[in-house]
């Protein structure tokens, strides 16, 4: 069974004359336990695919299957127990007035867990923060620590699939290395499926085994990371991207 299966996915914003087609007939699949990267420049529609899967972008056509089940117009709570997302900017993805404790306990309660206290401690340990961080507010945390909290939040529901929207692009390189290591470890421990969006080919190459290159809303090439490393690429745009690193 595939973790994520997309067929002919179109996503657009606005209606009639103002309609902007952000994603045009995207097709790819991510096997369960696999790690897939979407690469492209800003405006290429790579983040929009993640938003369509999570239901944040509601105008779409085509077919999306997650863990063998087709997605409809709305998502139920069961879906959010299987699929979670980590956002790009850790400074924007945590509520400024909620402490780490409030963020995690609300999430756990929403997913119907009862042993909230024990789970918070475990989550904080899992992302390498430890319980001293439990009662801090976002402004008392560094960027990397915030992203760890955001990762803890996305792991609270014990999902099978994690969507990663440029999880390290707002962080310093030394912190990026820590977060990337954390993501590698978590995937190994929990057999997670990753779908990662990034503009950084080196980061995608580090985390993923297959990638799709996007330009102007279309997938121009899908290839394995080994092929990319060996520069065995067919598309001119992919070559252009590879040349600029």
């Amino acid at each position: 069974m595939n973790g994520i299966d997309l067929q002919d996915l179109n996503v657009w914003f606005g209606d009639y004359e103002e309609r902007v087609d952000a994603v045009k007939s995207a097709t790819f699949s991510v096997p369960e336990g696999g790690s897939f990267g979407l690469v492209g420049e800003s405006g290429s529609g790579k983040s929009t695919i993640l938003r369509a899967i999570t239901g944040l972008a509601s105008d779409w056509s085509g077919r999306m299957d997650v863990l063998g089940k087709p997605l409809g117009k709305t998502r139920d709570r069961q879906f959010y127990r299987q699929v979670q997302m980590v956002f790009q900017d850790p400074y924007a993805s945590l509520h400024p007035r909620h402490s780490v404790d409030a963020v995690l306990s609300e999430t756990l309660q929403l997913h119907g867990f009862s042993d909230v206290d024990a789970r918070i401690s475990k989550l904080l340990d899992d992302v390498g923060l430890g319980s001293t961080f439990r009662f801090r507010y976002p402004h008392q945390l560094s960027g990397g620590q915030r992203q760890r909290v955001a990762i803890a939040r996305s792991l609270a529901a014990e999902p099978a699939i994690l969507l990663l929207d440029e999880p390290t692009s707002a962080l310093d390189v030394s912190v990026q290395a820590e977060i990337l290591n954390l993501l590698t470890d978590l995937r190994a421990e929990r057999n997670l499926t990753y779908l990662m969006v990034s503009h950084d080919l080196a980061v995608v190459g580090h985390i993923c085994d297959h990638i799709a290159v996007m330009q102007h809303g279309e997938i121009v090439e899908t290839l394995s990371v080994e092929d990319m490393r060996a520069r065995k690429v067919k598309n001119a745009y992919t070559e252009h991207l590879l040349a600029s690193i």
């Binding site: 999570t54 944040l56 998502r75 139920d76 709570r77 959010y80 979670q84 997302m85 956002f87 790009q88 900017d89 924007a92 993805s93 945590l94 509520h95 400024p96 007035r97 909620h98 402490s99 404790d101 609300e106 999430t107 929403l110 997913h111 001293t132 961080f133 009662f135 801090r136 507010y137 976002p138 402004h139 008392q140 955001a150 939040r153 609270a156 529901a157």
Partner: protein
Amino acid sequence: MSSAQTLRQWLTSDVPTSRRQAKLAALYQAWLAFRGNLMAMIGLAILLLLVFTATFAPWLAPHDPLAQDLAARLQPPLTEGYFLGSDSLGRDILSRLIYGSRITLYIVAMVTLLAPVVGLFVGTIAGYVGGWTDAILMRLTDIFLAFPRLVLALAFVAALGAGIENAVLAISLTAWPPYARMARAETLTIRNSDYIHAIRLQGAGAMRIITKHIWPLCISSLVVRVTLDMAGIILAAAGLGFLGLGAQPPSPEWGAMISEGRKFILDHWWVATMPGLAIFTVSLAFNLLGDGLRDVLDPKDGSQ
């Protein structure tokens, strides 16, 4: 002094160990910021004095505010027994001002409980839900905004009868639309932020998102706005009192007192001036407090 030192350290700790400590530490930081603003502290002091005066009015007032003494009418300030003078019926102005502070506080409290709450509900729901709900709620707001404030209040009081409760209702009725507008504008910016998306991805419903995630961020700027508007509200209440539509005689409401003193304003200036000064002082205090609160609470100035 050592216990005070450790309390301070406990409050300023970067590694809070309990929910309570984290909350108190956040409050303490805000207090430190507020304390640094001299003008705001002056405003706060005046308002605390007002609350104190209202609470202990029977002990502070030298006379009964309603007791008439026609022999001692229109005494100038600093007369024996009448520190701020007396009015046309020989009532002590100081005592009336002291008792009047209760009415002022009552108006302030009632309007604060009504207008911003209604505005917050309407604005955040309209902003978050969007679509038709937004259109209907906002056009309703526009209708209320389009009415001249005092005229609507006048019509309302005329329909329901004069009195302090109706005056409060009338003021609240005209005061909520700007809060609704403001709350909606804030909600629109908050609604598309990643932390709201993140909680939506945990399966949270609209009601939870509005009350637990959007309100805490709207409330601070609302508090600032209400505080700054409070001067206007006190003046509106005084205006209604002045027109004879608010508090009724012999109630020592400050606006009504000015209205009574108007007849003698040329020969006996203090009768209208003293309540005028009281309104001025309290309005100013609210404005100063509002400015200080804006510095502390406004999230746009950065949360650090």
